[in-house]
Every structure is written in C-alpha cells, then in structure tokens.
Symmetry: D2
Subunit: 394 residues, 4 copies
C-alpha cells in the first residue's frame, strides 16, 4: 500500500438507499454485477426483487440474497405497485433483464414514482425511448443507464481533458470493441447469454451493434462531447445460421467536422473485451483501453507521450476524486460499474432531500435514446449498402 | 459483457458473518479497504468497532458506518470482552491499526474466542508471533493475515501451476516491490501514513523491508511453495533524516537449491506499486506484475510465450473458480483483497458450523511468523555487512 | 549474444550486383535508406547514379558515395543509355525520386534492359502501371516495388501462417497506418519531404492515401492473400490549406466474403509510424505492429494468446530463414527493407545466370498496379460520398 | 516513411577504412555481425582476414567475402606483420575469436601499429588487460571494445540525461541480463557457441558472468557514470555437468553511495536477450529494455511517466544525432553495433589525419580492464560465500 493519494469512498449522506431489482435471478450474470456495484460503496441495501417471473425461482433467488419473503415478487408490475405503497418501499430499482423487458419494466417503476437504474441498450425503438424520456421529465425522477464504461476514472479524466481543451479542436475518433465469445455458434449449444443476445425477439433488431456497439458509440460521444450526425455501416454475420449481426464496420461523422470509425465484433479470436477509444485533436491525442483501465496515454503534439495513471500525477479531480485507491493499486470493471451506482446515489439522495442535484456525468434517458437511434441508423445504413444515414432521423 | 465464463460470487452459507473492526477510523486508509473487501461478496456485516482510541472520533467514525452507538468502542480490550458476551456478538474482528498494536489487539480477541483477520506485518517480534500462534492453536480459532496479493486469481493460478509441476524443478526466483511515495521526506510534512511507517516506535525495526518487503517475501514463498533458508541483505536509507530503511537489496537461498533476489524500495521515482514476481524452473517460467494483475505470462521452455488471462483459456480452477468476472473484464486490488475475506468467511463458517474447514490457501499465523523472521534476518544481515543469516534462527 | 538460432546472411552467388540509383542526392531521405538496404547484405555495389537533375549537385552527391565521376549523371535517360552500353554497366537501378518521376525513369531503364527496383507508389495512373507491366513482361526483367514492410520476417511469418490455414477461413481484416508529422502545415515552412508529398503535381491525386494508405493496403493483401474487390472511402483534409487528403477512413470488402477497415492518417498527434495489421479467421487471429516488428501475436481460438518472436519458438522458415539475428536481438526497419533488396538480388542473380528464378514473395509491378487502382478507387469513392467502388474498375 | 527528423548517416571523411578480421570464418556467428556493422555506414571495406587457423577454411571463408587470395591468412601474427608492411595494408582489425585468443591477437596488431576493434570480454586476466592498456597508450592507437549495447541511441540518451543531472543524485541501479539458451546442456550436443562459452579453457574463469554479466556491468557504469567499488556475488550453476556459472546474483556498491543489483542468467526459460537497465535518482528514473531499444521510459518525480522515442520529442543530440531513421522506424541490434564501428571510424580517421580525436563515448581498453576486474571480483566473492570484494583490488 502506498497511500500517498488517499481517497475516501463510502456513504456521505447518512442513509443507505433501499434498492429493488428486476431480473438477475439464479444463473443470471449481469444481475450479480449490479449487486456488487451497488454494494461496493455501501450506498444501497437490496431489499426487494422480481428476480424471476418463475415464482419458485424468484423466491429461491431472493432467499439467497437475504430478501424478506414478502418482497420477493414474480411480477415486476406487482412489485412496482406494492413497493410504492409501502412506507419502507424501495427508493430505486435496478432493471437487469434481457433487452425486450427494459421498456415495460422501466415504465412500470417510473409510473410508480420510483427512480430507475437500467441496463443498456435502453429499449428497442425510438418511440419507446421517447415515451420513457417524457415520463422521466414529467415525474422528475432519476433515470440512469448503466453504460458502465463511463464510470471508469480514466474515462472521466479523458472527458475532462477534452472539455478543458487539452486536445484542441478534435479531428479523428477511433473506437473499437472486439470480443470473441460468439466466434462459434454457442447459442445453439445452450449458452443462455448467447441465446438471448442472438435472438431478435429478445435482443431487438441488432446483435453485436446493440450489445456492444452501443457501448462504443456512447463512450465516443461521452468522452468527446461531440454528437454524431451521420453514419455509414457495413454490418455482417459471419457465423452461419446466426440471425443478427456479429461484426460491424461503421464510418462516423460528427457535427463539428470530426470524423470517426467504429468497429464492433464478437467473432474475432483473441480479442476478449477489447473496448478501445482513441481521440485526436489538433493539439494532442488520447488512447484508452478497457483491459488496462488504470492508464490513459496522453500525447500532446510535439512532446513525449505520457502515461497518466489513475490517481497519479496529472490526474484531474474528475478522476482522482472518484478513485478508491492510490495509483498502482488497480481498480477494475466492478469499481467502474460501482461509480455509476455511486453517482446515481448522489442524485437520488439529493432528490429525496429536495436538494439541487449534483452535476454528475451519468448516462441518462437521453443517452438511451441516442443509443436506440444509433442502432436503427446502423441497421438501416447497412440495409442500404452502407449509405450515409442521418442520426437525427432516428 | 462477454459472459462466456460466468461465475457466481456471493454468499453460499446462508449467513452473513458479524464483523468488528479495530482501527480504521476517519482519515485512516487501509480500514476503508478492509471494509470494501469484506462487503464485496456480501459475506460480512460490520456491526462493531474500536475505530479510534479517541472516544469522540470512535463514535463519529462508527456513526458514519451505521454502527449502533453501543457498539462503538474506544478500547479494543473492552470491545473484545463486551462482544464476546453478547448473544449477537461479532464472529470475527479485523485488525487494521499501525503495526505496534497488532499484537495486543490480536491477543485480546483470540483470548475472547473471536476469529481474527489481521493486517501485515503481523507483529514486531518472533516471541509475539509464537505467542499468537500458540493461542490460535489452543483456541482452535481462525487467524488470517491479509497478505492481500495472494488473493489475486493469477497468483493462485501461478501457485497451482508450480504445484502441478508445470515449471519443473525451480531454479531462480526474482521478486521486487518498488514504490516512490517516500522518495522525499514526506513524513516531515505531516503525511500521516508516512509518519507511522518511518517511526520505529510504531513500525518496528524495519521500514521498507517490513512494509512491503514482507509482501514480496510472502508472495515468493506462497507461489513457489519453497522455503527460504538464508538471506544476505544490504539495506539502505536514502532520504536524509529517515530513521528506517527505505531500500533493500537481498539475496535469497531456498531449501531446494533454488536461489533468488528480492528488491524492495520506496524511493525510486516512477515506480508506483511495482510488485513483480518471476519464477523460473527447468521446464518453464512465470511472470506476474501487480499493476496488470489479470495477466500471467507463462513461458514453457522452447515454446512461444503465452499470456494467460484471468478466467480465460488455460485458467486453472484455482483462478477461474474465484473469478467474479469473465476474462477481459479487469478485476483489481479490491477484488484480490476481498478474496482473502471470502476465503476467511468459508473457514469461519465451517468452524461455526462444526464442519471440516475447507483447504483455502490463506496466509496464516505461521506466515506471520515467517514474515517477522524475514524482517529480523534482513536487519541482522545488513548490520553484519550482508553476511548470510539463517532464516531458521529467527 | 544468445546464438541459439544462428543464421547466415551474406552473398551466396559469388557476385556483387552493380547498382545504379535515380534520385537520392544530398538532402534526400529515402535514397539513403535504399543505399543502406542494398549494402547491408553485401549483394550490391553502388557504381552509378543520376542522383540529382542539377549537374553540380549530382556530381557532389556522387563523390560522397565514391562514384566515379563519369558515372555521375544528371539525366536518368542518358544514364540508362550509357550504362546499358558499358561492359561493366549496372545490373539494376533503384528509383527513389518523388512519385511523378517513377514512371519515366522506370520506363527508361526497362527499355534499356536494366532490372528495376522502384519506390512506391509505383506510378500515377493505371495506364502507366499497365504500360510498365507490359514492358516488364516483354523484356523478361525483374521489377521490384519497395513495399518494404513486406520484408519484415514476422510479416512473412504471418503470411505463411495464413497460407498454411492456421487461422482458418478469414473473416475480418483491420489495418491502420497513423502518423502525426503532417499534423500542422509543415509544408508551408519549407519541410521538403512535406512539400512534395502534399503537392498534387509531384504526389498525384492522393496525399495520405497514396503515401501510406498504399502500404497498408498492400500489407493487408500481402498477408491475407485476399483480393479487395470493393471499397468505400471517406477521405478528409484537416489541415487548412492543404491540397490533398491527410486522413482516410475506408471500408473494404474482399472476394472471399471477408471484410475490413483501413485507416490512414498523417495528422493524429502521438502516432508515429503506426502501421498495424490484425487478421481474424474462424480459427485464430494475428496482430502485428510495425513499431515492435520482432513480435507477432497469435491467438488460436480458445487457447491462450502466444507471442511469437522472430527466429524464436514457433517461427516458420519464412521468418527464421530470413532472420539475420537470433530472437531477442531486435531487427528493424532497415533489415526489413534490406530483405527486399536481398530477395531482389536472388531474382536478378538467377536471371543473369539463366537459372529459374526462386519463389520470393516480392511486391511486383502487379502490386504496383493494385496500389494505383486502390488510390483511384478511394479518391473516386470519397468524391461520391463514400459510395462503394469496384476495385476491378480501376 | 515520416521523414520529419531526417538524419544522414554515411561517410563524411572522404575515405573508407581498410579493415581486417581475425576469426569469423564460415559457421562463426559474431563475425558476420561485425561485418554487417562495419558495412552499414559504408565507412569500412573488408580487405584482409585470418578468418580461421585452418588454411583451407581460411581461404574458402575469405573467397566468400571477396577477399584477395593473398590477403587470406591462417595465422593472425603473420597477418599483422604482412599487413603492416603493405602500402595498402589494413587501417584497423576486428578481433572476433573466442575469448582466449583476444589477448594474443590484440597484442600482435597493436605491436604492428594497427588500430584494434575487439569483441568482449577483452581478455582473461587483469595482467593481460594492463599489458594491452600500456601498449595502446605507448603506440597512440585506437582500441575499441565492442560493448555493442552502448551504441544504442537510447542508451546514449540515458547517459546524456544522467550527465545533465535530469535524474538528480543517483540512488539505485538495477540491471539484469537474462537468457534461456543454456537452460539445458546444449554444449553436450554439439552446439558450437555453447561449447566454447562453457569451456574454461576458451572462456576463462567465468561463464554467464563473463559472457553477458560484463555487458550488464558495463552498461550500468556507462549510463550512470558511476564506478562500482565493491560487489557481493552469489554465482550458481544449475545445469548438471556444466563447468562454469550459468546464473549470477550480485549486490553492487558505487563510490557515490548509490547501490545496485545485477542479475545475469542463461538458464531462465522465457527470457531471450533480456538486458534491462533501470536507474533511479532523487529527481527521476530511467528504464530501458534491449528488446524494445527504441524506447526509453523517463519518470521525473511527481510527473506522469514519459516514453521517449529514439529521434522523437525529447531526444537529445546524443541520441538523435546518431539515429539513422525517424522515430517510429525501428532501429535494432545491428544499428547499435554499427554505431560502435561508426564512432571508431571517426576516431581512426582523425588519428590517420593527425586531427584531434573527437569525443565519442566508446568502450575502451580501460573498460575492458574494468570488465576483467568485475569477472574476477565476482568469482572471488562467490567463492567466499558472497563476501564483499573490493573492485579496486582486481
């Protein structure tokens, strides 16, 4: 331990938020990640869940998580109503189901006046996204989308550096997200995660583009502050029999004149969770790779490249202020995910107390809408032989 | 998320252990780390603490952590007695004070029949270490030393590979642990962590050798399964006015005929938390670096080097079985630390239930004794101009 | 020196070829590189040159290179005629002028019956390229294009691995070539190299696409053995006042169904000579980066990634057979360039002796034609808003 | 090619030096390296050789290298006398035999008034080293020892940075040189290079320490400018039956108060030619690895780490002035080796012209003496159980 840059995570509000969860029962994966993320900074207590639509599984899953039996629901709509009615009802709900259930679940809890933390991609259509956005505005509720990669300190650092003009006017954005876990038809051999992600009924109109392309797209806009105005996409499906895209090559244009490329793939052997963002401006460049998240390469024009370490020399408050550990003590995926929950807790706390909500750079319902538009534009462009498609039209 | 190797952390015993903490009040650093580590897998609930010997600070610190007022103690001996008497008393205590208090605190809780999780280095003298060891044996209690780096999955992988003979007979062990946070006399400018670590009254006879050299030494023995029989040490103090060593160069000999070098430093600019272990046998080599903990380089003789990823291809159960996330989703320092707590929970659970305790590779009171011997041998050797000193004699 | 894989470069034919050079006088850059490349393996002796069209500079440059005064020409056509007439005339000529002179110079020497080694891009138009190709065929001469990156041993290794089926059927090709030396308008401040490269009169219709995009394109086809059938290009010029493209985003489709992306840029701060090729097939992937050319990452599906070292374990004869040094002793850019010259010497030697020419994977006049088509297709596509353009049509 | 930092290697003196070679006949390894190094910058012409003591092999080897038959000798003493007597006799000789012949060969040529470039380690005893040193002084000849790693531009950069005070007062020197090519008893299976290196009659009293430990030791002194005053060595032999050390662990003390460690090994699987030097001062650190020689990590205290690229931003004249290529175009082992030859040519040129010799940082006969003392001190210390041995005494 080299505690030269100590930092103090943990509760600051004097309360733990009461959290419910929809999805995430036994055998689910991302649900467990959300629970660790919520727990890590001690800002939430999980007290209710519609962990499964199967009553028996819902009960058993809840018991494992120390939920009271009367708060183990098998129907998320019933849960929303019941929890809203309890004096000790949940403050917020985490929605961690397959994609097609995000919309009805989010709607039910928003209508019940409960803050929502929702997995990505948000919903399947722009209409749904806009309906949720309207609900959020009307009810004055917090809605957070778990584009978890935006919770990494060095991504916050990158965003702050761009914002501060350290790169100058931006020119080129290169973003890629490559995996290999769908390199063969694992969906045919009972891999549950693969099955729903490659099934249009549960995943929507896109496969790889929706599952990970949206992360890449969000990260590019999140860090650069630019808005993509048009894209040209060449989607492909390499694994025979697969019903959705598993590889995407996309050209991007941004409002400012910057240009970019986005590559997303789930069929490239030797890539694991290879999300990488490079941003180049007139005055400098940045390079970040998710698999080494504690480092950010900064290359001011005409100077030697610098390796910025999380919470090390050169860290801006945007990064060091949210670090739980000194430099050299690696933080990882869970800590980045937890940051989304910690920031959400700050927002919800403030809302509960009637205080002004702090400015935290969280993915919102508007980002969810951008993601839906991105998916639809990519699919439309690819259907029209990679013609440019206007993002505004989606 | 590429959930091809899902894993399911979380409680398995149907209970959360009741945890107390000694030290770790407001402004302390390592206490917060222990609390996150304990919380991460939901196996513990923090319910009591002697967080500070200052009553006011003890109370305030406890309140922040949601402790009941009557379980905020300002004296660890009183706490041990009181908690042992409560029907809902703590199952285990975490000791996270400066080094000189480890011994009296551990002794108090062991005598009260409470399981102990203790920060390193364990105690200041071999006599103290042996007294604790005897107590642990007599009382049949669990005693875990938080050599947290041994909780990293790829360190467990390395140990399992050596054990399985994948490296053949071992020849050379190179271990280093370099930092730069004490490169200047920060202890003179009020840096609290630096102050106690460079103060013989609180830190013991060694500085750098005790603080991080013990980690390096433990890791080398932990992974190789070898026992160091003799060492020759050249300790130095580079920062003027500093009262303890801040750089250590040590030659190692092992019982098996293997030889090694250990370098520990806290004064080398540009090193951060640079713990690295390389082990070479007749048939292959391993290389692991703490700052990239999800990777392990494996170099079988005459074959291309391989990069093993945590929970990726080539992962043994020792590593994949304790991974919380698929490969490519980085785990970090906190997850490694949490593994110590998770394994300790398995041990304590079994003890509470009267079940046979599982075989978990946790640092024990015996490792604490090895660490104390290592410190004393190094200091003695250095005092005798780097003469070889027998580890058995300490 | 760890001479476990010795190798023996050097002359094998019993002769040194007599080499002439066009371009490359004082102050030129690439000429000096060609000369070292020719000299490295002692297969050539430089004996004549039209190093400059300025007589004084031609003479002075020649004197520095130990050329006899009567073989220092100021006109390449005169040189071709004169050398062809000498009994000790040159066997081969290296053409290292700015692009617009490649065609007339190559034509002059081919017509004089002299073998040609020519810098890239070969010529400006497909018509010129076809005229040269016809000449080469008619005269039975050797024509080698210095796509020097194809001379790196690990690129030869990659090609051999693909050819041997170690990657299975190919899916995705990602190639990029990023630099930053044109990030500002250095052409306006008298940088000679920048001046001609950004001048349509000397560089042709493309800037970055022609200068380095052609290298990337050639490398992708060279390693994969695939032929690009169509591309969609989004070329941009970021530096105000510049007359040619300085950034290119290109989608690629290959005859086999594989798809790719090509990024070339000369305006991205922090990139230096960042040529990188990644190839993914059904069974594995490869990753090579020019700035670390002695390594090739090989990732067989479902196995740990392997780092292949030049001339180390796993090296195929295609790589180890051309290595001058054991693994761990880095070879670089000059050695890769020299390989082109060494292979060319083998070809020319055989031709001079009337032996069958060996099968060496050298870039030929046909590759030069591919490069010209690539440039024209990219410029046309970009002019049509990134519409797909058929490579066959160019 | 990104020719933003062009550089112009090549002859500057208007002459090519006439070079002879002793050793390096067919099948030899290091001889070929010396020849490429001599040829690369066109400053030498190889015109004579005693390439083998076997007359037939000497002639055949010479013919392959285009030597005139009357200048192919089978006896180096005869060659020294004959060449000294010729009007066109050699200016310098390169000695590339096994170690035990360095002394008589160097002596013969020095006595004949011929400049010497000699492979390392220089000779076997301090007496021999002193005899050579005296001869060099008396005759006013150039004597260069090919500690080739000191010819790498980034090593020259490191030395210049230390000299300029950029690291402040030095504290710690960590140097290591690890290989694996002697991990098994290859000397028993006819590997010629292994055979003489493990044979005391040809290699001297040390194996690994002499072969590569001397390189590491020289590099440490070369870069830091410090002089090692004492060492404590633990040499080992891991391969059964081997007659010389194959692994060395050495503690170092320097006159200035700095301390260091040196590790050399030839038996560690997965290391290839792993020479690495780290130097830490009060104000900053440097890290260089031979296998990535174009990079130098510079870590000023309290600032982000910087990666200096050869000939890139931050390059001092000591490095950029000797670069043959722009940054991003890798140079390697041969170019570093060639730098020794280029610098030697500058020295010899000046001596031939009666000009003042330029200040080039070349390893000299004095460094050769240091190397011999290092070997003897290490062997003596190890024989005395790693007692400290004074370097001055050897």
């Amino acid at each position: 331990m080299s505690p030269d840059h100590p930092s103090s995570p943990g509760p600051s509000s004097g309360r733990r938020l009461r959290l419910g969860m929809v999805g995430g029962g036994q055998g689910a994966f991302i649900g467990a990640v959300h629970r660790i993320a919520a727990r890590l900074d001690d800002r939430y207590e999980l007290v209710a869940g519609a962990l499964s639509s199967d009553p028996e599984r819902a009960r058993a899953s809840g018991a494992e998580l120390f939920l009271a039996p009367d708060r183990c629901y098998d129907d998320f709509r019933a849960m929303a109503v019941a929890e809203a009615a309890r004096p000790d009802g949940i403050d917020a709900v985490a929605i961690v189901t397959p994609n097609h259930l995000h919309f009805p679940a989010a709607k039910a809890f928003l209508e019940a006046g409960i803050h929502v933390i929702c997995d990505k991609p948000m919903v399947n259509t722009a209409a749904e996204a806009e309906e949720l956005a309207a609900l959020v505005r009307e009810r004055g509720l917090v809605f957070v989308l778990t584009h978890n990669y935006s919770g990494y300190p060095m991504i916050r650092q990158a965003r702050a550096m761009v914002e501060a003009g350290m790169l100058g006017r931006l020119r080129v954005v290169q973003v890629e997200y490559a995996q290999d876990w769908l390199a063969t038809a694992v969906e045919e051999s009972g891999q549950k995660q693969a099955a729903w992600r490659t099934d249009p009924a549960r995943s929507g109109i896109a496969g790889c583009v929706g599952d990970i392309g949206t992360h890449a797209f969000h990260l590019a806009e999140f860090v650069t502050g630019l808005r993509c105005t048009a894209l040209a996409a060449d989607l492909g499906t390499f694994v025979p029999g697969r019903r959705l895209d598993d590889n995407a090559h996309i050209l991007l244009r941004f409002g400012s004149g910057a240009r970019g490329m986005l590559w997303a793939s789930q069929v490239c052997p030797g890539t694991t969770n290879g999300l990488r963002l490079r941003v180049f401006g007139e005055a400098g460049g940045l390079d970040w790779q998710q698999e080494q998240p504690n480092e950010l390469r900064f290359t001011p024009l005409g100077e030697p490249p610098r390796t910025l370490l999380r919470n090390g020399p050169g860290s801006l408050p945007a990064a060091s202020g949210i670090s739980r550990l000194p430099a050299g003590h690696p933080e990882g995926y869970l800590e980045g995910f937890a940051q989304i929950y910690r920031d959400a807790a700050d927002l919800i706390d403030a809302r509960l107390d009637g205080r002004q909500t702090p400015a935290v750079p969280l993915p919102t319902v508007e980002d969810g809408l951008r993601g839906v538009r991105f998916i639809h534009a990519a699919v439309e462009s690819s259907g029209r032989d990679a013609a440019w498609v206007d993002m505004a039209g989606h």
